[in-house]
Protein backbone atom coordinates (compact mmCIF):
# COMPACT_ATOMS: atom_id res chain seq x y z
CA UNK A 1 0.00 0.00 0.00
CA UNK A 2 1.35 3.38 -0.91
CA UNK A 3 2.22 5.67 2.02
CA UNK A 4 -0.12 8.54 2.59
CA UNK A 5 2.54 10.52 4.43
CA UNK A 6 3.60 13.63 2.56
CA UNK A 7 7.37 13.90 2.38
CA UNK A 8 8.55 16.65 4.71
CA UNK A 9 9.76 19.74 2.95
CA UNK A 10 11.34 21.83 5.69
CA UNK A 11 11.42 25.47 4.64
CA UNK A 12 11.85 27.24 7.96
CA UNK A 13 13.39 26.35 11.30
CA UNK A 14 15.10 27.94 14.26
CA UNK A 15 18.78 28.59 13.48
CA UNK A 16 21.13 26.47 15.58
CA UNK A 17 22.97 29.63 16.56
CA UNK A 18 19.84 30.69 18.45
CA UNK A 19 18.96 29.60 21.95
CA UNK A 20 15.32 28.73 22.64
CA UNK A 21 14.80 31.84 24.79
CA UNK A 22 11.83 33.97 23.72
CA UNK A 23 12.98 37.50 22.91
CA UNK A 24 11.89 40.52 24.92
CA UNK A 25 11.47 42.74 21.86
CA UNK A 26 8.21 44.60 21.24
CA UNK A 27 5.77 43.25 18.64
CA UNK A 28 6.65 44.52 15.19
CA UNK A 29 10.20 45.48 16.08
CA UNK A 30 12.81 44.39 13.54
CA UNK A 31 15.49 43.47 16.11
CA UNK A 32 14.22 39.88 15.93
CA UNK A 33 14.69 39.85 12.15
CA UNK A 34 18.21 41.25 12.46
CA UNK A 35 19.08 38.69 15.15
CA UNK A 36 17.78 35.89 12.98
CA UNK A 37 19.79 36.99 9.96
CA UNK A 38 22.99 36.99 12.02
CA UNK A 39 22.17 33.56 13.46
CA UNK A 40 21.44 32.14 9.98
CA UNK A 41 24.77 33.45 8.71
CA UNK A 42 26.64 31.96 11.68
CA UNK A 43 24.91 28.64 10.94
CA UNK A 44 25.68 28.73 7.23
CA UNK A 45 29.33 29.56 7.85
CA UNK A 46 29.59 27.11 10.74
CA UNK A 47 30.95 29.84 13.01
CA UNK A 48 28.91 29.36 16.19
CA UNK A 49 31.68 27.69 18.19
CA UNK A 50 34.24 30.29 17.21
CA UNK A 51 32.10 33.36 17.75
CA UNK A 52 32.13 35.81 20.64
CA UNK A 53 29.38 38.42 20.50
CA UNK A 54 29.48 41.83 22.17
CA UNK A 55 26.10 43.13 23.32
CA UNK A 56 25.46 46.87 23.65
CA UNK A 57 23.52 49.00 26.08
CA UNK A 58 20.11 49.62 24.55
CA UNK A 59 17.25 47.38 23.47
CA UNK A 60 19.73 44.67 22.44
CA UNK A 61 21.37 44.60 25.86
CA UNK A 62 20.04 41.08 26.32
CA UNK A 63 21.17 39.86 22.88
CA UNK A 64 23.40 37.43 24.79
CA UNK A 65 20.30 35.52 25.84
CA UNK A 66 19.34 34.73 22.26
CA UNK A 67 22.56 33.72 20.53
CA UNK A 68 24.03 30.30 21.28
CA UNK A 69 27.56 31.71 21.21
CA UNK A 70 29.84 33.04 23.93
CA UNK A 71 28.87 36.62 24.67
CA UNK A 72 30.02 39.63 26.64
CA UNK A 73 28.07 42.76 27.51
CA UNK A 74 29.75 46.14 26.96
CA UNK A 75 29.31 49.50 28.65
CA UNK A 76 27.22 51.97 26.61
CA UNK A 77 28.97 52.66 23.31
CA UNK A 78 32.15 50.74 24.12
CA UNK A 79 31.38 47.51 22.24
CA UNK A 80 33.92 48.18 19.44
CA UNK A 81 36.66 48.69 22.06
CA UNK A 82 35.72 45.46 23.85
CA UNK A 83 35.57 43.66 20.52
CA UNK A 84 39.04 45.04 19.72
CA UNK A 85 40.41 43.63 22.98
CA UNK A 86 38.89 40.20 22.33
CA UNK A 87 39.94 40.03 18.69
CA UNK A 88 43.51 41.12 19.38
CA UNK A 89 44.10 38.32 21.86
CA UNK A 90 41.99 35.78 19.93
CA UNK A 91 42.59 36.57 16.25
CA UNK A 92 41.06 33.26 15.20
CA UNK A 93 37.75 34.00 16.90
CA UNK A 94 34.87 35.65 15.09
CA UNK A 95 33.96 38.78 17.03
CA UNK A 96 30.88 40.87 16.32
CA UNK A 97 29.16 43.76 18.03
CA UNK A 98 25.46 44.43 17.78
CA UNK A 99 24.73 48.09 18.49
CA UNK A 100 21.91 50.58 18.26
CA UNK A 101 22.13 54.16 17.07
CA UNK A 102 22.34 55.84 20.48
CA UNK A 103 25.05 53.38 21.47
CA UNK A 104 27.08 53.55 18.26
CA UNK A 105 26.45 57.02 16.85
CA UNK A 106 26.26 59.05 20.05
CA UNK A 107 28.04 57.87 23.19
CA UNK A 108 30.15 55.35 21.28
CA UNK A 109 31.19 57.62 18.41
CA UNK A 110 34.84 57.62 19.48
CA UNK A 111 35.03 53.85 19.78
CA UNK A 112 33.37 53.10 16.42
CA UNK A 113 35.35 55.70 14.48
CA UNK A 114 38.67 54.47 15.81
CA UNK A 115 37.85 50.77 15.50
CA UNK A 116 37.07 51.52 11.84
CA UNK A 117 40.19 53.64 11.41
CA UNK A 118 42.35 50.87 12.84
CA UNK A 119 40.74 48.43 10.43
CA UNK A 120 39.92 46.10 13.31
CA UNK A 121 38.99 42.74 11.87
CA UNK A 122 35.57 42.69 13.53
CA UNK A 123 31.97 42.85 12.30
CA UNK A 124 29.49 45.47 13.48
CA UNK A 125 25.73 45.08 13.10
CA UNK A 126 24.34 48.59 13.46
CA UNK A 127 20.61 49.00 14.10
CA UNK A 128 19.34 52.44 13.08
CA UNK A 129 15.79 53.00 14.30
CA UNK A 130 16.10 56.76 14.74
CA UNK A 131 15.60 56.82 18.49
CA UNK A 132 16.72 55.52 21.89
CA UNK A 133 14.40 52.55 22.23
CA UNK A 134 15.37 51.08 25.59
CA UNK A 135 15.09 54.31 27.56
CA UNK A 136 11.69 55.15 26.12
CA UNK A 137 12.12 56.83 22.76
CA UNK A 138 14.35 59.86 23.21
CA UNK A 139 15.99 61.71 20.34
CA UNK A 140 19.00 59.90 18.87
CA UNK A 141 21.74 61.26 16.61
CA UNK A 142 19.82 59.50 13.82
CA UNK A 143 16.40 61.02 14.59
CA UNK A 144 15.07 62.62 11.41
CA UNK A 145 14.52 66.40 11.16
CA UNK A 146 11.06 67.20 12.46
CA UNK A 147 10.63 63.75 14.01
CA UNK A 148 8.90 63.76 17.38
CA UNK A 149 10.51 61.88 20.25
CA UNK A 150 10.11 62.08 24.02
CA UNK A 151 13.03 64.52 24.18
CA UNK A 152 12.14 66.42 21.01
CA UNK A 153 8.39 66.68 21.69
CA UNK A 154 7.90 69.39 19.06
CA UNK A 155 9.90 67.53 16.46
CA UNK A 156 13.67 67.60 15.99
CA UNK A 157 14.56 71.22 15.34
CA UNK A 158 17.84 71.13 13.44
CA UNK A 159 18.53 74.75 14.40
CA UNK A 160 18.67 73.76 18.05
CA UNK A 161 19.33 70.03 18.02
CA UNK A 162 21.53 69.65 14.98
CA UNK A 163 21.30 67.27 12.07
CA UNK A 164 21.12 63.49 11.92
CA UNK A 165 24.37 61.63 11.38
CA UNK A 166 24.79 59.26 8.45
CA UNK A 167 27.16 56.75 9.99
CA UNK A 168 27.74 54.47 7.02
CA UNK A 169 28.74 57.38 4.79
CA UNK A 170 30.92 58.89 7.50
CA UNK A 171 32.78 55.71 8.40
CA UNK A 172 33.25 54.87 4.71
CA UNK A 173 35.56 57.88 4.41
CA UNK A 174 38.10 56.13 6.64
CA UNK A 175 40.91 54.19 5.00
CA UNK A 176 40.60 51.48 7.64
CA UNK A 177 37.06 50.60 6.56
CA UNK A 178 36.77 47.36 4.61
CA UNK A 179 33.09 46.75 4.03
CA UNK A 180 30.46 49.36 4.97
CA UNK A 181 26.92 49.10 3.65
CA UNK A 182 23.39 50.18 4.54
CA UNK A 183 20.41 47.89 4.14
CA UNK A 184 16.82 47.96 5.36
CA UNK A 185 14.53 45.45 7.05
CA UNK A 186 11.19 46.87 5.83
CA UNK A 187 10.20 44.14 3.38
CA UNK A 188 11.17 40.57 2.39
CA UNK A 189 13.27 41.62 -0.58
CA UNK A 190 15.29 44.03 1.52
CA UNK A 191 15.58 41.48 4.32
CA UNK A 192 17.16 39.07 1.83
CA UNK A 193 19.56 41.79 0.70
CA UNK A 194 20.38 42.54 4.34
CA UNK A 195 21.14 38.89 4.96
CA UNK A 196 23.50 38.80 2.00
CA UNK A 197 25.32 41.86 3.34
CA UNK A 198 25.64 40.29 6.79
CA UNK A 199 27.00 37.15 5.17
CA UNK A 200 29.59 39.19 3.28
CA UNK A 201 30.49 41.09 6.45
CA UNK A 202 31.24 37.86 8.34
CA UNK A 203 33.09 36.47 5.32
CA UNK A 204 35.22 39.60 5.34
CA UNK A 205 36.15 38.99 8.95
CA UNK A 206 36.62 35.25 8.49
CA UNK A 207 39.05 35.91 5.64
CA UNK A 208 40.89 38.60 7.61
CA UNK A 209 39.94 41.36 5.18
CA UNK A 210 39.30 44.07 7.77
CA UNK A 211 36.55 46.06 9.37
CA UNK A 212 32.97 45.34 8.30
CA UNK A 213 29.75 47.13 9.26
CA UNK A 214 26.18 46.59 8.13
CA UNK A 215 23.79 49.41 9.01
CA UNK A 216 20.22 48.17 9.14
CA UNK A 217 17.30 50.59 8.94
CA UNK A 218 14.89 49.25 11.54
CA UNK A 219 11.54 49.95 13.09
CA UNK A 220 10.46 50.97 16.57
CA UNK A 221 6.65 50.84 16.56
CA UNK A 222 6.38 51.24 20.35
CA UNK A 223 8.27 54.50 20.51
CA UNK A 224 7.30 55.81 17.10
CA UNK A 225 3.75 55.26 18.36
CA UNK A 226 2.49 53.80 15.07
CA UNK A 227 1.53 50.28 14.06
CA UNK A 228 4.12 47.75 12.91
CA UNK A 229 2.82 48.01 9.33
CA UNK A 230 2.94 51.82 9.42
CA UNK A 231 6.46 51.53 10.86
CA UNK A 232 7.64 49.54 7.87
CA UNK A 233 6.12 52.20 5.64
CA UNK A 234 7.90 54.89 7.69
CA UNK A 235 11.24 53.21 7.03
CA UNK A 236 10.53 53.02 3.31
CA UNK A 237 9.06 56.48 2.85
CA UNK A 238 10.85 58.59 5.45
CA UNK A 239 14.07 56.91 6.49
CA UNK A 240 15.42 55.58 3.20
CA UNK A 241 15.29 59.04 1.54
CA UNK A 242 17.47 60.39 4.38
CA UNK A 243 19.55 57.24 4.75
CA UNK A 244 19.96 55.88 1.22
CA UNK A 245 20.60 52.16 0.95
CA UNK A 246 23.83 51.16 -0.70
CA UNK A 247 27.43 50.04 -0.53
CA UNK A 248 29.53 52.85 0.87
CA UNK A 249 32.87 51.10 1.09
CA UNK A 250 33.84 47.82 -0.46
CA UNK A 251 37.61 47.45 -0.55
CA UNK A 252 39.03 45.89 -3.74
CA UNK A 253 39.89 42.60 -1.98
CA UNK A 254 36.27 42.31 -0.86
CA UNK A 255 34.77 43.34 -4.21
CA UNK A 256 36.49 40.39 -5.86
CA UNK A 257 35.38 37.99 -3.10
CA UNK A 258 33.08 35.11 -4.08
CA UNK A 259 30.47 34.31 -1.45
CA UNK A 260 28.30 31.22 -1.31
Amino acid sequence: MASLAIPENLVYERPESFTDAPTHYCPGCTHGVAHRLVAEVLDEMNLTERTIGVAPVGCAVFAYNYFATDFVEAPHGRAPAMATGIKRVQPNSIVFTYQGDGDLASIGMGEIVHATARGENITVIFINNANYGMTGGQMAPTTLPGMKTTSSPNGRDVELQGYPIRMAEMLATLDGAGYIVRRSLHDPKNIRLAKKAIRIAFEVQNRGLGFSLVELLSTCPSNWDISPVESLKFVEERMIPYYPLGDYKVSPAIASMKVG
Binding site: G85, V89, E111, H114
Partner: protein, 371 residues
Protein backbone atom coordinates in the same frame (compact mmCIF):
# COMPACT_ATOMS: atom_id res chain seq x y z
CA UNK B 1 70.86 38.24 36.99
CA UNK B 2 72.98 41.38 37.29
CA UNK B 3 71.61 44.60 38.65
CA UNK B 4 70.93 47.17 35.95
CA UNK B 5 70.00 50.83 36.00
CA UNK B 6 66.37 51.19 34.91
CA UNK B 7 63.80 53.97 34.79
CA UNK B 8 60.74 53.16 36.89
CA UNK B 9 58.09 53.25 34.19
CA UNK B 10 60.15 51.20 31.75
CA UNK B 11 61.06 48.70 34.44
CA UNK B 12 57.39 48.29 35.37
CA UNK B 13 56.54 47.65 31.73
CA UNK B 14 59.34 45.10 31.30
CA UNK B 15 58.39 43.38 34.53
CA UNK B 16 54.79 43.09 33.28
CA UNK B 17 56.08 41.44 30.11
CA UNK B 18 58.13 38.98 32.13
CA UNK B 19 55.09 38.26 34.31
CA UNK B 20 53.26 37.06 31.20
CA UNK B 21 51.52 40.20 29.95
CA UNK B 22 49.62 38.96 26.90
CA UNK B 23 48.23 42.29 25.69
CA UNK B 24 48.47 45.98 26.56
CA UNK B 25 46.02 48.76 25.77
CA UNK B 26 46.78 52.34 26.76
CA UNK B 27 46.64 56.04 26.04
CA UNK B 28 49.41 58.60 26.51
CA UNK B 29 49.43 60.72 29.64
CA UNK B 30 52.32 62.14 31.64
CA UNK B 31 53.97 60.93 33.89
CA UNK B 32 53.46 57.32 32.73
CA UNK B 33 54.19 57.60 29.00
CA UNK B 34 57.33 55.48 29.23
CA UNK B 35 55.20 52.43 30.11
CA UNK B 36 53.19 52.81 26.90
CA UNK B 37 56.27 53.65 24.84
CA UNK B 38 58.30 50.72 26.17
CA UNK B 39 55.47 48.31 25.44
CA UNK B 40 54.87 49.79 21.98
CA UNK B 41 58.30 48.47 21.07
CA UNK B 42 58.59 45.31 23.18
CA UNK B 43 55.12 43.81 22.69
CA UNK B 44 55.29 43.62 18.87
CA UNK B 45 58.83 42.26 19.20
CA UNK B 46 57.36 39.37 21.18
CA UNK B 47 54.33 39.00 18.90
CA UNK B 48 51.96 40.21 21.62
CA UNK B 49 49.14 42.72 21.01
CA UNK B 50 49.73 46.40 21.78
CA UNK B 51 47.08 48.99 20.96
CA UNK B 52 47.28 52.72 21.56
CA UNK B 53 43.60 53.48 22.04
CA UNK B 54 41.69 56.62 21.04
CA UNK B 55 41.17 57.53 24.70
CA UNK B 56 41.30 56.01 28.17
CA UNK B 57 37.68 54.93 27.64
CA UNK B 58 38.74 52.86 24.66
CA UNK B 59 41.83 51.51 26.44
CA UNK B 60 40.00 50.25 29.51
CA UNK B 61 37.28 48.65 27.41
CA UNK B 62 39.85 46.91 25.23
CA UNK B 63 41.31 45.59 28.47
CA UNK B 64 37.77 44.59 29.49
CA UNK B 65 37.25 42.62 26.28
CA UNK B 66 40.66 40.95 26.34
CA UNK B 67 40.34 40.13 30.05
CA UNK B 68 37.06 38.32 29.28
CA UNK B 69 39.09 35.72 27.39
CA UNK B 70 41.28 35.08 30.43
CA UNK B 71 44.33 36.75 28.89
CA UNK B 72 46.78 38.54 31.21
CA UNK B 73 46.15 42.17 30.33
CA UNK B 74 46.87 45.57 31.75
CA UNK B 75 46.63 49.26 31.13
CA UNK B 76 48.36 52.19 32.74
CA UNK B 77 47.46 55.80 33.19
CA UNK B 78 47.69 58.83 35.46
CA UNK B 79 45.12 60.72 37.49
CA UNK B 80 42.88 62.40 34.86
CA UNK B 81 43.13 59.27 32.72
CA UNK B 82 42.25 57.02 35.65
CA UNK B 83 39.14 59.14 36.23
CA UNK B 84 38.10 58.41 32.64
CA UNK B 85 38.69 54.70 33.16
CA UNK B 86 36.40 54.50 36.17
CA UNK B 87 33.40 53.43 34.06
CA UNK B 88 35.26 50.45 32.65
CA UNK B 89 36.82 49.57 36.00
CA UNK B 90 33.38 49.37 37.59
CA UNK B 91 32.14 47.08 34.79
CA UNK B 92 35.25 44.90 35.11
CA UNK B 93 34.71 44.65 38.87
CA UNK B 94 31.04 43.78 38.30
CA UNK B 95 31.95 41.15 35.70
CA UNK B 96 34.48 39.59 38.13
CA UNK B 97 37.38 39.32 35.73
CA UNK B 98 41.07 39.96 36.46
CA UNK B 99 43.12 42.87 35.20
CA UNK B 100 46.10 44.94 36.27
CA UNK B 101 46.07 48.73 36.39
CA UNK B 102 49.21 50.80 36.84
CA UNK B 103 48.20 54.14 38.30
CA UNK B 104 50.96 56.78 38.26
CA UNK B 105 49.42 59.62 40.26
CA UNK B 106 49.98 63.31 39.58
CA UNK B 107 48.81 66.55 41.16
CA UNK B 108 45.10 67.40 40.93
CA UNK B 109 42.17 68.00 40.92
CA UNK B 110 41.34 68.74 37.30
CA UNK B 111 44.21 68.96 34.89
CA UNK B 112 46.40 69.70 37.91
CA UNK B 113 50.03 69.17 37.04
CA UNK B 114 52.45 66.37 36.29
CA UNK B 115 54.26 66.42 39.64
CA UNK B 116 54.24 63.43 42.03
CA UNK B 117 51.16 63.23 44.22
CA UNK B 118 49.20 60.76 46.34
CA UNK B 119 45.90 62.58 46.03
CA UNK B 120 44.11 59.66 44.32
CA UNK B 121 44.42 57.29 47.28
CA UNK B 122 40.72 57.53 48.10
CA UNK B 123 39.70 57.31 44.46
CA UNK B 124 41.33 53.95 43.84
CA UNK B 125 41.41 52.43 47.35
CA UNK B 126 37.73 53.07 47.98
CA UNK B 127 36.58 51.72 44.64
CA UNK B 128 36.46 54.72 42.35
CA UNK B 129 33.73 53.76 39.93
CA UNK B 130 30.08 53.28 40.81
CA UNK B 131 28.86 50.32 42.83
CA UNK B 132 30.12 48.33 45.78
CA UNK B 133 33.54 46.88 44.98
CA UNK B 134 37.18 46.97 46.09
CA UNK B 135 40.26 46.78 43.90
CA UNK B 136 43.46 45.40 45.43
CA UNK B 137 45.94 48.29 45.61
CA UNK B 138 49.71 47.81 45.99
CA UNK B 139 51.91 50.84 46.65
CA UNK B 140 55.64 50.45 45.93
CA UNK B 141 58.22 52.90 47.28
CA UNK B 142 61.07 52.09 44.89
CA UNK B 143 61.62 50.93 41.33
CA UNK B 144 62.68 47.48 42.59
CA UNK B 145 59.54 47.16 44.68
CA UNK B 146 57.38 48.23 41.73
CA UNK B 147 59.08 45.63 39.56
CA UNK B 148 58.57 42.95 42.22
CA UNK B 149 54.90 43.83 42.63
CA UNK B 150 53.96 43.48 38.96
CA UNK B 151 53.84 39.65 38.93
CA UNK B 152 52.18 39.76 42.36
CA UNK B 153 49.49 42.05 40.94
CA UNK B 154 48.75 39.67 38.05
CA UNK B 155 48.64 36.65 40.36
CA UNK B 156 46.34 38.36 42.87
CA UNK B 157 44.05 39.67 40.13
CA UNK B 158 43.59 36.15 38.77
CA UNK B 159 43.35 34.48 42.17
CA UNK B 160 40.51 36.76 43.26
CA UNK B 161 39.00 37.62 39.85
CA UNK B 162 39.52 41.28 40.58
CA UNK B 163 41.28 44.48 39.62
CA UNK B 164 44.80 44.74 41.02
CA UNK B 165 46.27 48.22 40.93
CA UNK B 166 49.91 49.15 41.33
CA UNK B 167 49.73 52.67 42.73
CA UNK B 168 52.69 54.96 42.46
CA UNK B 169 53.53 58.54 41.54
CA UNK B 170 55.59 60.22 38.88
CA UNK B 171 58.73 60.24 41.02
CA UNK B 172 58.94 56.44 41.21
CA UNK B 173 57.77 56.21 37.61
CA UNK B 174 60.55 58.42 36.35
CA UNK B 175 63.48 57.91 38.71
CA UNK B 176 66.31 55.58 37.72
CA UNK B 177 67.49 52.95 40.18
CA UNK B 178 69.59 49.81 40.04
CA UNK B 179 67.23 46.85 39.96
CA UNK B 180 67.07 43.17 39.29
CA UNK B 181 64.33 42.13 36.90
CA UNK B 182 62.44 38.86 37.36
CA UNK B 183 63.03 35.99 34.93
CA UNK B 184 60.81 35.75 31.87
CA UNK B 185 57.77 33.60 32.57
CA UNK B 186 56.36 31.44 29.83
CA UNK B 187 53.41 33.10 28.13
CA UNK B 188 50.60 30.71 28.91
CA UNK B 189 46.95 31.56 29.23
CA UNK B 190 45.12 29.91 32.11
CA UNK B 191 41.96 28.19 30.81
CA UNK B 192 39.64 29.82 33.35
CA UNK B 193 36.20 28.18 33.69
CA UNK B 194 34.52 31.54 33.09
CA UNK B 195 36.49 32.83 30.07
CA UNK B 196 34.62 33.66 26.85
CA UNK B 197 36.90 32.08 24.28
CA UNK B 198 34.33 30.54 21.92
CA UNK B 199 31.91 27.77 22.92
CA UNK B 200 33.77 24.83 21.41
CA UNK B 201 33.10 21.47 23.09
CA UNK B 202 31.54 23.15 26.10
CA UNK B 203 28.45 25.11 27.13
CA UNK B 204 28.43 28.70 26.02
CA UNK B 205 29.47 31.41 28.49
CA UNK B 206 28.22 34.90 29.10
CA UNK B 207 30.20 37.61 30.87
CA UNK B 208 28.22 40.62 31.99
CA UNK B 209 27.87 43.00 34.92
CA UNK B 210 24.09 43.22 34.62
CA UNK B 211 21.83 41.72 37.30
CA UNK B 212 18.41 43.16 36.67
CA UNK B 213 16.86 41.37 39.61
CA UNK B 214 18.00 43.21 42.78
CA UNK B 215 18.21 39.96 44.75
CA UNK B 216 20.67 38.62 42.15
CA UNK B 217 22.67 41.84 42.30
CA UNK B 218 22.72 41.61 46.09
CA UNK B 219 24.04 38.05 45.81
CA UNK B 220 26.75 39.30 43.44
CA UNK B 221 27.64 42.09 45.84
CA UNK B 222 27.90 39.59 48.68
CA UNK B 223 30.12 37.35 46.55
CA UNK B 224 32.43 40.31 45.87
CA UNK B 225 32.42 41.24 49.54
CA UNK B 226 33.25 37.72 50.72
CA UNK B 227 36.07 37.54 48.21
CA UNK B 228 37.31 40.86 49.58
CA UNK B 229 37.26 39.43 53.10
CA UNK B 230 39.54 36.62 51.85
CA UNK B 231 41.88 39.21 50.36
CA UNK B 232 41.90 41.08 53.67
CA UNK B 233 42.68 37.89 55.56
CA UNK B 234 45.43 36.61 53.28
CA UNK B 235 47.10 39.29 51.25
CA UNK B 236 48.32 42.08 53.52
CA UNK B 237 51.85 43.29 52.88
CA UNK B 238 53.77 45.87 54.91
CA UNK B 239 57.31 47.05 55.44
CA UNK B 240 58.45 47.82 58.98
CA UNK B 241 61.57 49.73 59.99
CA UNK B 242 62.97 50.31 63.51
CA UNK B 243 59.63 49.53 65.14
CA UNK B 244 60.80 47.23 67.98
CA UNK B 245 61.20 49.97 70.57
CA UNK B 246 59.56 52.82 68.67
CA UNK B 247 57.65 55.38 70.72
CA UNK B 248 56.88 57.40 67.62
CA UNK B 249 55.52 55.40 64.70
CA UNK B 250 55.63 57.19 61.37
CA UNK B 251 53.15 55.83 58.83
CA UNK B 252 53.42 56.59 55.13
CA UNK B 253 52.98 54.73 51.85
CA UNK B 254 54.86 54.92 48.56
CA UNK B 255 57.06 57.96 48.02
CA UNK B 256 55.97 59.64 51.28
CA UNK B 257 56.95 56.48 53.18
CA UNK B 258 60.29 56.36 51.40
CA UNK B 259 61.12 59.97 52.24
CA UNK B 260 59.94 59.41 55.81
CA UNK B 261 62.43 56.54 56.10
CA UNK B 262 65.32 58.97 55.49
CA UNK B 263 63.93 61.22 58.20
CA UNK B 264 63.46 58.27 60.57
CA UNK B 265 67.08 57.17 60.09
CA UNK B 266 68.38 60.67 60.85
CA UNK B 267 66.12 60.92 63.91
CA UNK B 268 67.35 57.51 65.13
CA UNK B 269 70.93 58.79 64.82
CA UNK B 270 69.82 61.66 67.05
CA UNK B 271 68.55 59.19 69.64
CA UNK B 272 64.82 59.57 68.97
CA UNK B 273 62.94 56.29 69.34
CA UNK B 274 61.11 56.41 66.06
CA UNK B 275 60.22 53.79 63.47
CA UNK B 276 58.39 53.58 60.16
CA UNK B 277 55.41 51.51 59.14
CA UNK B 278 54.92 51.47 55.38
CA UNK B 279 51.84 49.64 54.14
CA UNK B 280 52.41 48.05 50.74
CA UNK B 281 48.83 46.90 50.36
CA UNK B 282 46.91 50.12 50.89
CA UNK B 283 43.74 48.29 49.89
CA UNK B 284 43.04 46.15 51.80
CA UNK B 285 44.45 48.32 54.56
CA UNK B 286 46.41 46.65 57.40
CA UNK B 287 44.09 47.96 60.13
CA UNK B 288 45.00 45.29 62.65
CA UNK B 289 48.75 45.82 62.41
CA UNK B 290 48.32 49.58 62.73
CA UNK B 291 46.16 49.03 65.83
CA UNK B 292 48.85 46.77 67.35
CA UNK B 293 51.57 49.33 66.69
CA UNK B 294 49.39 52.11 68.05
CA UNK B 295 48.77 50.21 71.27
CA UNK B 296 52.52 50.26 72.00
CA UNK B 297 53.35 53.73 70.67
CA UNK B 298 53.13 57.14 72.31
CA UNK B 299 52.10 58.78 69.08
CA UNK B 300 51.62 58.04 65.40
CA UNK B 301 52.79 60.48 62.74
CA UNK B 302 51.02 60.02 59.41
CA UNK B 303 52.84 61.48 56.40
CA UNK B 304 51.22 61.77 53.00
CA UNK B 305 51.38 63.71 49.73
CA UNK B 306 47.70 64.56 50.06
CA UNK B 307 45.42 66.15 52.64
CA UNK B 308 45.19 63.09 54.86
CA UNK B 309 43.37 60.44 52.87
CA UNK B 310 45.16 57.41 54.34
CA UNK B 311 44.96 59.23 57.68
CA UNK B 312 41.28 58.28 57.71
CA UNK B 313 42.23 54.59 57.57
CA UNK B 314 44.76 55.05 60.37
CA UNK B 315 42.12 56.79 62.50
CA UNK B 316 39.76 53.91 61.82
CA UNK B 317 42.42 51.44 62.99
CA UNK B 318 43.42 53.42 66.08
CA UNK B 319 39.87 54.36 67.06
CA UNK B 320 40.96 57.21 69.35
CA UNK B 321 43.22 55.09 71.56
CA UNK B 322 46.52 56.71 70.57
CA UNK B 323 47.32 60.30 69.60
CA UNK B 324 47.82 60.86 65.86
CA UNK B 325 49.69 63.69 64.20
CA UNK B 326 49.56 64.43 60.49
CA UNK B 327 51.90 66.04 58.01
CA UNK B 328 51.02 66.41 54.34
CA UNK B 329 52.09 68.27 51.23
CA UNK B 330 49.60 68.84 48.45
CA UNK B 331 49.21 69.50 44.76
CA UNK B 332 52.38 67.75 43.60
CA UNK B 333 54.70 69.13 46.28
CA UNK B 334 57.09 66.45 47.54
CA UNK B 335 58.20 66.86 51.16
CA UNK B 336 61.92 67.02 51.94
CA UNK B 337 63.26 64.54 54.50
CA UNK B 338 64.10 67.56 56.69
CA UNK B 339 60.47 68.61 56.84
CA UNK B 340 59.47 65.17 58.13
CA UNK B 341 62.48 65.11 60.46
CA UNK B 342 61.26 68.45 61.85
CA UNK B 343 57.86 66.90 62.48
CA UNK B 344 59.44 63.89 64.22
CA UNK B 345 61.53 66.19 66.41
CA UNK B 346 58.51 68.37 67.22
CA UNK B 347 56.37 65.37 68.09
CA UNK B 348 59.15 63.89 70.27
CA UNK B 349 59.21 67.03 72.42
CA UNK B 350 55.50 67.46 73.16
CA UNK B 351 53.08 65.39 75.17
CA UNK B 352 50.78 64.26 72.40
CA UNK B 353 47.03 64.35 72.89
CA UNK B 354 44.24 62.55 71.15
CA UNK B 355 42.50 65.17 69.01
CA UNK B 356 39.29 64.93 66.99
CA UNK B 357 40.86 65.81 63.70
CA UNK B 358 44.66 65.54 63.33
CA UNK B 359 44.49 67.04 59.84
CA UNK B 360 42.86 70.20 61.20
CA UNK B 361 45.91 70.87 63.39
CA UNK B 362 48.18 70.40 60.38
CA UNK B 363 45.97 72.63 58.21
CA UNK B 364 46.25 75.46 60.72
CA UNK B 365 50.04 75.37 60.62
CA UNK B 366 50.03 74.98 56.82
CA UNK B 367 47.81 78.05 56.48
CA UNK B 368 50.11 79.99 58.79
CA UNK B 369 53.26 78.95 56.92
CA UNK B 370 51.90 79.69 53.43
CA UNK B 371 50.54 83.14 54.31
Amino acid sequence: MARELWEGNQAIAESAIRAGLEAYFGYPITPQNEILEWLSRRMPELGRPFVQAEAELGAINMVYGAACTGARVMTSSSSPGISLMMEGLSYIAGTEIPMVLVNVMRGGPGLGNIAPSQADYNQICKGGGHGDYHPIVLAPASVQEAVDLMPVAFDLAEKYRTIACVLLDGSIGQMMEPIELPAMRELKRTPFPWATTGAKDRKRRILTSIYLEPLDEEKTNLRLLNRWKDVQANELRNKEYYLDDAEIVVIGFGTAGRIALSAVRTARAQGIKVGLFRPVTVAPYPYQRVAELASKAKVLLVVEMNSGQMLEDVRLAVNGHTPIEFYGRLGGVVPFPDEILGEIQRVSKVTPKVVDDPAAVWLKSMNASTK
